[in-house]
Amino acid sequence: MRGKVAVIGVGMIKFGELFEKSLENMIQEAYLNCLKSVDKGIHPKEIKAAWFGQWSGGFIGQGTQSGHSLTSMIGNLDIPCTRIENACATGSDTFRHACLGVASGVYDVVLALGAEKMRDKPSAESLGGAGGGGSAEIGIHPAWMIGQGGPAIQAMHATRQMYELGYSMEDFARVAVKNHHNGTFCPYAHYQFEITIERVLNSPVICWPLHLFDCCPQTDGAAAVIVCRADLAKKYTDRPVYVVGNNVGTDHIQFWDRNSFVEQRSTIRAARGAFEMAGIKPQDIDFAEVHDCFTNTELMNVEDLGFIRKGEAAKRLKDGEFDLHGWLPINPSGGLKAHGHPIAATGLGQIFEVFTQLREEAGKRQVKLKNGIGLQHNVGGPAFGVSVVNILSRSL
C-alpha cells in the first residue's frame, strides 16, 4: 500500500446467543469498547469515515442495512459510511476498505465495524439464507435447488480430502479439539469448553463426513476496529500495529466450475496478493487466525495460505505444530469454532485477536512472536469463492 496504515484501537463484544441484545445494542457496545481501547484516548469526532459490515439482514429477512445503520446508531451523522457485504469475508473486507480509505490519503482516521444477528431466526432459516436452497436462489440455477448451504459445500470438500489426501474424520475432529481448547482462554468466545475427538465423532452427523461439532455455531456478535494514517498513530498509542498487506481473492461462484475440491483458489489468490503487497513470505508469519467455519476447512486453509504443502495439514496438526505453543499457532483465539460466526463481526474479531497478540496482551492464549507478524483470513460465499487476507505487523 502506498499510504501506510495503522490499527490504533479494537473492540468487540462477547459472541453468543444474544437474545437480549438488538443490532443497535451490539453495535454501540463494540464501538464504545473500541473507543475505550485507544491507549491515549480518541474523540469520536476524530473519526472521519466509516465502513459498516453487514451480511444477514437482507438475506434472512431482517431488513437490509446500509451505511446509515451505523452512523445513526453511533450518533455521528457528519461522516460518510458505506455498508459492505462480501459473504463470509464481510468483516475482513470491511476492514480492508477502511484501510484503503486511509491509504488513499482521503481520510486520516476511520472506523470499520461489523455486526450480525444470526440467532433471531432458527438455524434452518438462517442457514437457508446462507445458500441452503431456499427460495432466494430459485430462478438463478437448478443446481441451487438441492439444499446446499455451507455445511454441504464443505462436506463435499471433506469427502474429497479423505479420498485424495487420506484425511480422516479424526483428523477433522482434532481441529475442533485444538480450537475449543484455545477458546477456553478467550473471554469473547461463544463456546468456552474443552471437547474430545470422541465427543465430536459421537455428535449428530450434519452432513457426512461432518458432525455437529465439526461446524462452528450460529452466533450473534459485533466487532470494531479504528485505523489511521501510520504517521499519526503515535498520537493515539505508543504501540500501534501496522497493516502491511491485504487482498481479496475470488474463484468460481458455480461449484461445478471448480477444478479441485481439496483446495480453494479464492484463498490461494487472496494470500498471493497480500504477501506480495507485504513483501514477505508465508514462512515469515508468526501465527494466523484462519476461517475454520468447519474443521476440514482449517486444514485446507493452512495449505492454501502457503504455510505448508497440500496434504500435510492433518499430520502437522496431530504433531502439535498448530497448537498455541507450536511453531505456527493457528486460531489462538479459538477461531470460528469457539467464537461462532457472526459473519460481518467474524473478520473484525479476528483482527481484534491479531492486534491483541501482536501487542502481547492475549494472556493465557498469548503466542510467541518471532517476526511480529500475524495473518487474518476468511473464505466463504457460494462455492467458497470469496476470500480475504489481511497481514498485520508490529513494525512497518
Binding site: A124, P142, A155, M156, H157, A158, T159, R160, H252, F261
Partner: protein, 133 residues
C-alpha cells in the same frame, strides 16, 4: 397460500439449459461451463462453442446431508459428477438404497425428476442414480 403463477420464468430458461443440457466449451482454455454463457468463466474468452453435457459419469465427490432445508426429506445426497467425455454437473442422488452404496468413483446416470415447485408449478430437472454394473 402461494398463488399459482400463469408461467414460471424458469420454464423459459429451462428448455435449452436444463432439459437439453447445453453448456459451452472454451476453444481457448478448454473449460466446460454450464449452463450456456457468452464468456468463459475460467479465462474470459468469448471464443466458445456449444457443448452438450453427457448424461453419464462418475461421482467426483458427495456428501450425505442430514440437515437439509425444510422442503427436503433427509437424507439428501448432493453429488458432483465428472461427466463421461468432460464437464461437471451437480445434482441430487435419487433411488439409492443406503447412503453407503454411493461412493467416489461410482457410475451414475441422469434421470428426469421433479426438483421443486415454483409458485404452484412443478419444476423438473435431472437427478442422478447409480448405474448397475
Amino acid at each position: 397460500m402461494t398463488q399459482p403463477a400463469p408461467a414460471s420464468p424458469l420454464f423459459w430458461r429451462f428448455n435449452p439449459e436444463v432439459f437439453r443440457l447445453i453448456g459451452i466449451k472454451c476453444k481457448d482454455c478448454g473449460h466446460i461451463s454450464y449452463p450456456r454463457t457468452m464468456i468463459c468463466h475460467e479465462c474470459g474468452s468469448q471464443n466458445l462453442k456449444e457443448y452438450k453435457l453427457p448424461k453419464t459419469g462418475v461421482i467426483h465427490t458427495f456428501c450425505v446431508n442430514w440437515a437439509p432445508p425444510p422442503t427436503f426429506e433427509p437424507p439428501i445426497m448432493p453429488v458432483m459428477v465428472d461427466l463421461e467425455g468432460g464437464g461437471r454437473y451437480q445434482g441430487l442422488m435419487t433411488e439409492f438404497g443406503a447412503p453407503e452404496d454411493v461412493k467416489i468413483g461410482s457410475k451414475v446416470e441422469m434421470v428426469l425428476r421433479k426438483l421443486t415447485t415454483d409458485r404452484g408449478l412443478n419444476i423438473y430437472g435431472y437427478k442422478f442414480r447409480l448405474v448397475e454394473e
